[in-house]
Amino acid sequence: MATLIEKPIDTLMKGSVDVEDLSVVFKRRDQYGPLLVLESTSFRIHPGEFVCLLGPSGCGKSTILNLIAGFLKPTKGRVLVDGYTVESPGADRGFVFQQYSLLPWKTTFQNVEFGLKIRGVSRAERTDLVNDYLNRVGLYNHRHSYPHQLSGGMQQRASIVRALVNSPSVLLMDEPFAALDAQTRHMMQELLLNIWSDLKSTVIFVTHDIEEAVFLSDRILVMGVRPGRIKETVEVNLDRPRHLDIMLSSEFLNLNRQVFELIREETLKSMELG
């Protein structure tokens, strides 16, 4: 039954991600030899789904994201996005990095405009689209500022908008809010859900933060320690649209506790591994 319902949606909407039997070995030049980071990891993400990858440090979350983005080649297995094997990075997969990654020599406007300019979108169209997006994240008044003149939160908002303005079918986010203070982080989470609810592109969001994962996602993939693989999947059936106050609801707290237990086991194991 499930497949019957799924199929038409899959063909209608873009943004499916299939990770098939993925293994990654890093060659290292030190005495420890090759490092098996991912072993036979498989999972599937449906178009329009918001999925969080959660796991202890070093378990390979960024590695998975880099493979989907095409920055990295798998040792074994493959990644399919919308049915095509990923060979190299492309504009269909937007990326938001943890570090501030705006081009320092471009203004906010020019940074967001960059992808559209590359694709040859006309100036008038670019201006409308970019200004519209900047307005939605409250950066319109800062459109002529250079990145060093923006706060961390503003820079990340600009990075998100820079990825989204190209309407990628998949948005990859690697701990985008990790460097922000708690208040700003919560604001950004709500803002992200807000924009995403209009666009409905697939989001794969890497985080350490359990609350963040529960608040944002439809599904949490909990990863185990090295060699990394998906240990457990947690469905998050909280109603949308979500606002920060659901963090106080008992449903939210229960999910939180459930994920916390899963993570704790893995973190303990990872500490033993060293």
Partner: protein, 295 residues
């Protein structure tokens, strides 16, 4: 800082007019105190002071015939140099100066174009690096003086030889800085470009080259200074004109004050032209923040 000093000076001029006599008298000491404090903090003042100190100490060392480790007894004093300068400027100073400026600017200009161009290519394309980098590194340590005989053989006239030697001074620092700048491109920014669908050309134009700009700029600043550094060497080839030629010629005729004058003149022109290059490259990088400790 310079701005606040200006503001203080303005305030000093304006306020007495606006306030009544008695008021002015009451507040005069504190106002004067604030103004002199602002003046002390002013960077221009500190800079002028550094020059006064430099020449003052030098004059003092000469007058007292200071002789410990360094012997100042036979050195021309600032006042000797000053009279040599007066003599120089009442003669055909402009011709000498213009000849030198022209050589340096030509040599520097060619070095800037070739150094930046080649540096970007070497930094970005591995095969080009493999092809040309080692021969260039081999030539780099060779001092300008060593090139004089070859410069005479290589070029149809002395003028071209002199431009070549000032070129050599600027070329290598510009080349090396540019290569380093391109090589230090941030991998995250490259990935940003790739995820926005940028192909080689856009990555090159919008990410690699702007990212290398700060390095290129410091290469240009160092290169500008080095061109002047090589001027005396270059103008050994000169028959008649040039500040470097004059300096060299005065040495041959054992006339010392003009040597020091020539040295200082070269230093001054180097300073000014470096300042211009620095300002111009800063204009190209409005996005840069420079922070320094202020005491």
């Amino acid at each position: 800082m310079a701005v606040s000093a200006k503001a203080a000076r303005k305030a000093k001029r304006k306020k007495p007019r606006a306030t009544s006599e008695t008021h002015f008298d009451q507040h005069a000491p504190s106002k004067l105190g604030a103004a002199s404090l602002a003046l002390l903090k002013s960077r221009n003042l500190k800079r002028s002071l550094s020059l006064v100190l430099f020449f003052g100490i030098w004059q003092l060392l000469c007058v007292t015939q200071f002789n410990f480790l360094i012997n100042f007894a036979f050195l021309p004093s600032p006042i000797d140099v000053w009279s040599a300068t007066i003599t120089f400027f009442s003669g055909n100073a402009v011709v000498h100066i213009a000849a030198s400026i022209q050589r340096v600017l030509l040599g520097f200009g060619i070095a800037a174009v070739l150094g930046v161009g080649l540096g970007i290519l070497i930094g970005w394309f591995r095969p080009i690096e493999d092809l040309v980098f080692i021969p260039l590194e081999l030539l780099r340590p060779i001092p300008a003086v060593a090139w004089i005989p070859l410069a005479i053989l290589m070029f149809p006239n002395a003028e071209a030889g002199m431009v070549y030697i000032t070129f050599l001074g600027a070329f290598f620092p510009i080349l090396i800085s540019t290569i380093r700048g391109v090589e230090s491109t941030d991998i995250v920014l490259l990935r940003v470009g790739q995820c926005l669908g940028a192909k080689q050309w856009h990555i090159f134009k919008d990410i690699v080259v702007p990212g290398a700009m700060p390095n290129i700029a410091s290469g240009l600043v160092i290169g500008m200074g080095n061109s002047w550094f090589c001027l005396v060497t270059a103008e050994i080839l000169a028959g008649r004109f040039g500040v470097g030629y004059l300096t060299w010629e005065s040495y041959v005729t054992s006339n010392y004050p003009p040597i020091v004058m020539g040295m200082l003149l070269i230093g001054l022109m180097g300073l000014l032209s470096t300042l211009v290059v620095d300002r111009l490259t800063k204009l190209l990088m409005p996005w840069r923040v420079t922070k320094k400790q202020e005491f």
